[in-house]
């Protein structure tokens, strides 16, 4: 600058020559931490990921749905029947209330059905054939994922319609059948062969006969557990699984005007609420322990009580007769076990339904070498494979929580392992990041936003019809709810790091590409780490 006064006047921006990065003793780095919801999802959904897509609205809904479909082919079903452990661990619950993940998932699932969104297998055909036994959540999930991976899948199911427990165990008012049918049809339309009313007697023979390279067993647990209850001849005793299954038949179960249900799980609630809808004046749940010990989810109990289901805590059925039951009052001992008190009372009941758990029918494994069963369930290894090479198992017939979501998760995991096995390799799940706990967040930046309450059907209609009890969110609500996500541990491109750096040492790479540090100028002050809302940056000591 020959014309400007020497030294006193300077050319703009010339300080870029001064690389202040050399001052640094620590450097910030971008990280992806595992959101608690993702960590808790039995189906392994990338919940934060699809909420991120969904909150864009518009085309974002499709991308969000697609993101769910990478892990779980049943968003609409999930949005109704999943017990959403994700919401239980949601960090937002510590701020106001958990994000309504389940309701957003349902919105996306319903939207997909409405719009007729489909998904195409993205792998070339492998030429391998896989036999799946059981068209329940686990079997269908496996079929879907295996098809996506390029394999030819055939499902054999003993039922008249696919869905397993989703159809024969979950009442319509929780899962309308058109939703179930739509999501199953989408899988079948991908080219899965389904054989109904086909009970496989021996899996090894079936594989050999059909020329299958591998098999996935997911027959579920459909045999209602019967406990011994002294009963008169005229006592009308049924099991819960049969009652719920017969709801899908032409002949509805005859339960009478007063119904007692023994058990404290979700199935007990389902039966009691079904009984109400079938016209029972009194539906009573008899449970040995106290409410807080009940395995049923709180909201199921709440909804049942709302609908007029009566609860008898600390009670057991000592004797059943025609029209009445003898109930013994229990008391909790110091160890937390219920103990009989010797106090008795009578309870009118035209029928007694036992909801005390289910067992799997493992007859199809008889004589298959290497397969071990223990306590009524099949042993599998980390790869979901039984002791017989090439035969995998999942769902309610293996030891784990018996929920639809867990079953779906098994189906995915089994499919990935079957795929690897078919390709003579090993399936290596991705590295699990450190969980993004609440203390990693800077919650100041999240605007106050309490959860949206889903509409519920009014009580009169709930107790008289099988219409769906819980409604869905409309688009505005769903968007709002999606945007309540804190995106724990994962950059959501809020630009905070880009804005708060006093040294302009953050480079914004544009939509979807996040940011990077310009270590030439970063002085290592750490403001970006402190002010990242979602905990996606951490400091690392600088190495010399």
């Amino acid at each position: 600058m020959p014309n400007k006064p020497f030294a006193i006047t300077l050319n703009v921006g010339s300080s870029l020559a001064n690389k202040t990065g050399s001052w640094r003793t620590e450097r910030p780095v971008y990280v992806d931490r595992l959101p608690p919801c993702n960590n808790a999802c039995p189906a392994g959904e990338n919940i934060q990921g699809w909420l991120y897509q969904g909150e864009e609205g518009g085309d974002g809904y499709y991308r969000a749905w697609h993101q769910i479909m990478l892990d779980n082919p049943f968003p609409a079903i999930m949005g109704r029947v999943c017990y959403h452990p994700c919401e239980t661990v949601c960090n937002r619950a510590q701020l106001d209330t958990a994000v309504g993940i389940n309701s957003v998932e349902r919105f996306l699932g319903d939207e997909a059905i409405k719009q007729g969104w489909t998904i195409e297998p993205d792998a070339p055909p492998s030429g391998k054939k896989v036999l799946i036994i059981g068209a329940g959540p686990s079997g269908l999930s496996a079929a879907y994922h295996l098809t996506m991976l390029g394999h030819k899948v055939t499902i054999a199911d003993s039922g008249r319609a696919p869905g397993g427990m989703m159809r024969y165990g979950i009442p319509k008012y929780r899962l309308p059948r058109d939703v179930l049918d739509a999501e199953i049809a989408r899988i079948l339309d991908m080219g899965v062969t389904l054989g109904l009313n086909r009970t496989v007697r021996n899996v090894a023979d079936e594989m050999a006969a059909g020329g299958f390279d591998a098999a996935f067993l997911a027959v579920g647990a459909h045999i209602g557990r019967r406990a011994y209850i002294p009963a008169g001849e005229a006592a009308h005793i049924l099991d819960a699984v049969s009652v719920l299954r017969s709801m899908e038949g032409e002949q509805k179960p005859l339960l009478g005007r007063s119904v007692a249900v023994v058990g404290g799980g979700n199935t007990a609630m389902d039966v009691a609420r079904t009984a109400k809808r079938l016209g029972a004046t009194d539906a009573v749940v008899v449970y040995r322990r106290t409410r807080d010990r009940m395995p049923a989810h709180d909201f199921e109990v709440e909804e049942a009580i709302e609908e007029g289901v009566e609860m008898r805590w600390l009670s057991t059925v000592k004797h059943a007769d025609a029209g009445k039951l003898l109930i013994e009052k229990m008391v909790m001992d110091e160890a937390g076990f219920p103990q009989p008190t010797g106090d008795f009372e009578e309870l009118e009941a035209d029928s007694l339904v036992l909801a005390m758990g289910q067992d799997a029918d493992l007859a199809l494994l008889d004589g298959v070498p290497g397969i071990e069963a223990d306590d009524g369930v099949v042993k599998v290894n980390q790869a979901m494979m039984t002791g017989h090479p090439g035969i995998f198992a999942g769902g309610d017939m293996v030891p784990d929580d018996r929920t639809v979501t867990v079953g779906i998760g098994h189906g995915k995991k089994a499919a990935r392992n079957i795929d690897a096995w078919l390709r003579d390799s090993r399936y290596e799940p991705g590295h699990k990041h450190e969980v993004a706990h609440y203390d990693k967040l800077n919650t100041w930046y999240y605007a106050d936003a309490p959860a949206t309450v889903r509409p519920t059907l009014d009580i009169a209609r709930r107790t008289s019809t099988f219409e769906e009890v819980v409604g869905g969110l409309d688009e505005t609500n769903a968007l709002y709810e999606a945007r309540r996500c804190l995106s724990c541990g994962n950059c959501f491109e809020c630009d905070n790091c880009y804005g708060v750096c006093p040294d302009n040492a953050v480079v914004k790479l544009g939509a979807g590409n996040r940011f990077e540090f310009n270590y030439d100028y970063c002085k290592g002050c750490g403001i970006c780490v402190q002010e990242c809302p979602c905990g996606a940056i951490e400091m690392e000591p600088e190495t010399i």
Partner: protein, 370 residues
Amino acid sequence: MPYQPIKFYQTGSFVVGNRLLDQNERSVQSDTERLNSLTSGHRACQGCGEALGARYALDAVAKATGGRMIAANATGCLEVFSTPFPETSWRIPWIHSLFGNAPAVATGIAAAMHAKGRDDIRVVGQGGDGGTIDIGFGCLSGMFERNDDVLYICYDNEAYMNTGVQRSGATPPAARTATTQAVGPNPGNVFGQGKDMPRIAMAHEIPYVATATVAELRDLEAKVERAMSFRGARYIHVFVPCPLGWGSSSNDTIKLARLVKETGLFPVFEAEHGEVTAVSKIRRRIPVEEYLRPQRRYAHLFGEHGHPETIERIQALADRNIARYALLDDLPDSLKPPGSAVGRQVRWQSEDLSEQTSAMAILTETTGAH
């Protein structure tokens, strides 16, 4: 409430950017095309609040003026760290003259622009608290009084940092500086001194006065934009923590700016033509202790030989602001004017302090007012 142009929840309005917003609704700082009026390579300390505040404010001015702006800078940290020969970090036309004359230099530039018929070029004067409210006070008041077409921005870090952290007229009570040391029976800066520059500015009845902090970018940008919609003298007083001078962690700069506002110690408001027109309500009220504790300049107030009574006096100052500017939606009874006070217990969002003396009672004692 703090400035919330758009309510998003995950991508809440308190963050710098929001990928879901229309481009024209986004903050200036979120823009990859932002000017970076103060660019990289400057020699400010790690975590410097002033460097941040200056870029925030001037980029917003640049946005509002389409880059047609000139800045006049007082001597001080901002000047020294940005323009040591042979490098400058500025990307705007910028002049540094003296410590105490930045407002007058700015007036001169504005006069020149007006004389040349270039009123489209807008002028910003800026300096630290020393350059603004102490040594530059005369020039500033003159500029205000003449209603010269200048936006003056004070970056307040509450002491003379450039010369080694000496007390200024903006140093708060009890704060340790090199000339108000934490020694003797009443350690730190004395109570009952100091200037409230925003209110002095308001007394000039200039078109626009606002306070802001580096913790609320959208609010700061909105105020700059508002300021630029006026002709005449405008004043924005920005609270900028100084890790070096305050003995705070370099990564706590924004946090401290956030906390000071949430205590009420630094009221964030706007005034037009001498009247307060808007205040930023406290969002999550905290006791002053939470703000004071992370700063070593207040370390003498804590611990075994601490001064809890001094903390109470500082709390009273915060409460006075809360009452004066109505910083809470629901003013606790203890902060209502005497006569209407029913309960005297202050309720806290934080549970650190269970027993609070009546704030008004302290106020009465310290000021003699009632």
